[in-house]
Every structure is written in C-alpha cells, then in structure tokens.
Symmetry: C2
C-alpha cells in the first residue's frame, strides 16, 4: 500500500540526531557512486493571471543501500513584488490557501510507490542537517553561542542542527518583523532548553557569536564582512545571503555540492514576458567554486575542516540535492511503517499492467 | 480534490481525433514559447538484487493556455537479458506483478495537484498522435496501406493514428511471435473496421505498403533500406529501429524534437557495476540531426512536408517530451471532471501550510 503522510507525521518521525547520521551515510555513499541525484530543474510558465508566473521544480535522488529513490517537486505560483530587497513570493493558492511541495518515495527493489508527503518539514530538516554536519567540522569545538539572522521555517532547522552538534547555550535572533522573532524565541527557548533571545539589529545578534548563521528568504546579502571575528563559523543556506567580501574574508570555505554544470536549469515558457529579476546574476558565476571542498569531501577527510581556534570558516549551502530526500525519506518511511502512520491507499492505483 | 484515474479511464476519455488536435496546438504554442519542457532525465542505481538495475526517469511539460503542468515518471527495475537483440526488460515487480509509470497533473493557476494516473495508455496515444501528425504531412494523401512491424502496445497507437489521418484500408502486421500478431489483428480488424492481417515475415508486411511503420521494443534496426519504394512514408517510434542507410535513402527526414543538448542524461549510481549495454551508442551521435526540421516546425510550415507522390519520407520519433503529457493530460482532466471519473482524494493530503 501507498502511505500518505503529513508534515506533522514527518516532524514526529524525523529526529535531528538520526537525520544527521542518515545524511552523512548518504553523502559517503554518493562519493562511492552508490547513491546519486537528478539535479534540480525548473520550468517557468505563465500562470492564468498573467501578472503571475508558474514554476514547476523537480529533483530526485536514490540511495541503493536503503533501496529508496525520492522525487521532490514544487508547483508554485509566484510574484516578484518590488520591495526593498529582491524577494520572490510564493502565493498559497491551492485549496484552503496552501502551497504545493511534495516528496514521492519509490522502492528500488520493486519500483513501487511507497509514500507521498508534503516537502515542508523534511526540507527544513535536510537543510538544517547539512549545515549541522558542516558545523561539526567547521565550528569551534567549544562553540556555545549562535547569532541567527532569520526567524522563519529554515531558521528552526538550523538552530536544531547546531544544538545537536555543539554545546550551544545562548542564541540571539534577529529578523525584520519583531513579532516573528519574539515568537520564534519563545517557542525555541522551551523546545531546546537554551537561552534564545530576540534582538533589534543584525549586529546585536552576531556580535561575539561563535556561529553566525543566516537562514533568510532574501535574495540580497545579509551578512556583513565587518562582522567576521577570529574563530567564527559562518553558515548560510543560500549563496545570495552573502557577498564575495565574506567569502574572501574567511580562511576556509566549504560548499554543499558542486553547483556548476549541474543546474538549476531554467526552462522558460513565458511567451514575450520575461522574469522580472533573475536570481542567477551573482558573484558566484565568476567564483572558483571548484577550488573549495564539498560537504561530502569534508566528511570523509576531516583534515579539510577547522585547523585552529582562530580560523574564520564559512559553509555555503549553495544548492540542494535530491539524495537528501532519499536519505531522510528512507528514515521517515521505515519509521512510518513501524508505527503505522498515515493514510494508506491501494497499490494498484499507482501501478499498471502494461508498460512501454 | 485530487483525482486518481486508471488506464481504462484514460482509454475511454482520450480519442485519437482530439489527441491529434490537442498535440498540434501544444506544439504550436511551444514554438511561440507559451509551452515548455523539462527534458527527460534518467537516474540509474543498483536494485537490492545486484543483478538488476533500478532506473528512475522523469520529464515534465507545461502548457499555459490550458493552465496545466504535467510530470511523467517511471520507476523501473530492469535487466538486459542477452538475447538475439539487445533488449532491455522491465520487470513487473510492484505488488500484483505490475509496473510503475505515473503522470501527475498540476494547475498553473493555483499550483494544486489535479490528478494522478498511470502513464501506459497516454504514452501509447502521445507517441501514436505524434507519428500521426507527421504522417499527415509526410505520407501520400492517398496512402491506404500500412505495413506494421510490431504488435505490442505502441503498435496500437500507431495504427489508430494512421487510420485517423489517412484513408487506410489494408494493414499487414509482422511481429516475431505468431500468437501476438494474430491476436493484434483480430482485435484491430474489429475496432478499426479495416482489413488487418498477420504475415510471417517483415518483408511480407512492408511490400508495397504506403506507410511502413515500426513500433517495436528492439534496440536494433528492424527496417531494411532495400524496402524503400517510391512514395513510401517510413515511420519509427525510436532511432534504434532504423539504420543510417534508411535515413540516407530517404528524400525527406523529419525528427520529433531536437534531442541533442537536451538529454537524456544518465546519472549513474551503480558503484563499481556498469550498465551491460549502453543504449546510446548509435549512428545518431554523429548524425546532423539539426539539419532536419522538427515536427513542430513541419506543422507550422507544411512546405517542409511531402512535395511529390514519389518522394520517400521518414519520420523519426527520436525522443519524447513532457509537453505531450501536459497537452493530452489537460484533455483527460477536463473530460474526467465533466464525467465525474476516478477516485477523489482530499486536496490537503497533497498540499501544505508552510513553504520554504
């Protein structure tokens, strides 16, 4: 049977500890060519309201050891409101005012569809766990303070991951909307049993922080190179959050994966309309990304990690991979079966008695 | 609500006449950049039984006018048994002895998932309709005889399409297994009200045929250049069915779409194991595909079609595109809603209240 799970199920089933472990194993398998990815591809078209754009995105990954292949897709209607920063807005237009992002899991043993669930919680955890694995090798061993820029959904995963890999005691959080940062801090003080305080400026968040973490949805730099202090570890969830200054100011830089030559590819079907502001015009196009190790390379060779307490280190989660969904999806699925979670649907709805 | 449809539903809803029309409109929209594709990508990995290989394939397309995006995926366990011809075998290992190929339809207006159904019947019809549109411009106006090589699932779609675009009266069918070709002929004589006869050799099928159609699952040439007679139209569903001789012997060649630089990409995660026989070693790698028009180009400029009754013409359905699934999927969905077809599932199972 095919299992339909909810974000709540995924949140309950996926712990950060297990996610860190699963993701590390999957990255190691990838280096041995026992796991792989289809890079993310994006297809843009007009929505029916021509002021809006429709984007379909897909990426996939498989991990032979777990016998799982995963497809992650997003089906979004977007606008680019012209605010202070160039920010893409995804409109919740699906019935009930909702967004559409899904993960489908398949068995490599039989081909069958095993599960379908929304991508939100697993997305947060896979990004958090990747930055957490990087911090394990790049942050100071005794790192105990985090300065967090952002209080959204990605910020949650980042903070959970740092607390899992370092003895974090104090967190300062800045985000532009006071109510958001206050709410975030209230929830996380309870959940993580550490001090999580809202602050009124980015500088106040990052001053003296051992880990300076950006987890925002802006498309413009939020980290200032003037904030780089000896021993800091800078962690970002996308290239757009930092400037080339920050990259050049750090002693050691690790990227998530090689993004060049892999995608994202944008296949645009917009007639005569263009995309208001392309996201792909950035310093990274001319930057020698390949001269820095990737996270999987760092994991198998920790000598590429922090070498002294004074080093300034940087992890750029430059692009995601489908394998992350296969690795964490395998974990979700195994536990969902054990605990009998989710709705179940008949297999024959999702299979057929003929093939091409 | 999300509609789950069956192959039987799709067969009932999609007529060849309407499919030809929808596909033609979609190809025209594509040339105007009002429709688009994510090219097919393939991800290979080991199955749990290491003598088998798991392959995940995906392609996508969107058609703004209909407000539909479609994803088509295949999740197959395969072997390459070493027979007389190099043939890939897909193993029906999903529960009930079934295969897994699915189409998911999304709304470009809201992003929501609209429908899920198996890919078998729509696959047959999209390939048939593409070759049918080509035959409309490349076969003689008075073409009345078809020599068909193959009696499987793809052969059905080909024959239906030729009968829709030309006054076909007589069909001869060859395929290696006598029982298969006899059964095929019995079913199609009834369904199409034309004479459909099994024959014992490929030559007997194609001799004097106005349309020489290959619709096989072999990976080796089945069309002999000695069979090319004045006025013939040769129609193939894949490049592997013909040799370079046949291409060079024809006066006019049209391909489905540009396949170079678009994929398929093979992302292989097979550890130290290789793929026994790569399918992509063929004459077409050195062949100037770009010097021939594509089917969409032929549709908007019929002067690229047959110019005289004596010409020998060739259509190579070199690779499929996701847009075909969006075009025919839009039709399936509209009619399924009108007629209340399929199982319905709640929207909130396939959407979420957060996004990244």
């Amino acid at each position: 049977m095919v299992r339909v799970l909810s974000n709540e199920d995924v949140q309950e089933l996926l712990t950060m500890e297990e996610s860190l472990k699963a993701l590390e194993s999957a990255y190691r398998a990838w280096l041995r060519k026992e796991a792989g990815n289809l890079p993310r591809s994006d297809l843009y078209g007009l929505s029916t309201d021509e002021s809006r754009v429709y984007v379909f995105k897909a990426m996939a990954g498989l991990w032979s050891q777990e016998g799982i292949a995963a497809l992650r897709l997003n089906s979004d209607v977007i606008t680019w409101p012209q605010g202070k920063t160039v920010k893409k807005e995804k409109l919740p237009l699906a019935p009930g005012g909702r967004w559409v992002g899904l993960v489908l899991l398949f068995s490599c043993a039989t081909g069958q569809l095993l599960a379908i669930f929304p991508d939100g919680v697993i997305q947060k955890i896979r990004v958090g766990a990747a930055n957490g694995l990087a911090a394990r090798h790049l942050a100071r061993e005794d790192a105990s303070t985090v300065g967090l820029l952002g209080s959204g959904f990605q910020a949650e995963g980042q903070l959970e991951a740092f607390c899992a890999v370092r003895p974090i005691r104090k967190v300062k959080v800045y985000s532009p909307t006071e109510a958001h940062r206050t709410d975030f801090c209230r929830r996380f003080s309870e959940r993580l049993h550490v001090s999580v305080e809202p602050v009124k400026t980015p500088e106040a968040a990052v001053r003296d922080a051992d880990i300076l973490a950006a987890a925002t949805n802006t498309m413009e730099p939020v980290v200032d190179s003037a904030w780089l202090k000896p021993g800091v570890h800078v962690s970002t969830i996308k290239r757009q959050e930092i400037s080339l200054d920050v990259v050049q100011g750090c002693d050691r830089v690790v990227v998530h994966v090689r993004s060049k030559g892999e995608g994202p590819f944008n296949y645009v079907a917009l007639g005569s309309r263009g995309i208001p502001e392309q996201e792909e015009k950035g310093w990274w196009n001319d930057w020698p990304e390949a001269s820095h190790p990737t996270l999987p390379e760092l994991l198998v060779d920790p000598s590429r990690g922090r070498a002294s307490p004074e080093e300034q280190t940087l992890f750029i989660n430059n692009t995601g991979i489908g394998l992350q969904f296969a690795a964490l999806g395998a974990l979700v699925y195994r536990k969902a079966v054990e605990r009998g979670k989710g709705q179940t649907l008949p297999d024959h709805w999702f299979s057929e008695d003929l093939h091409s």
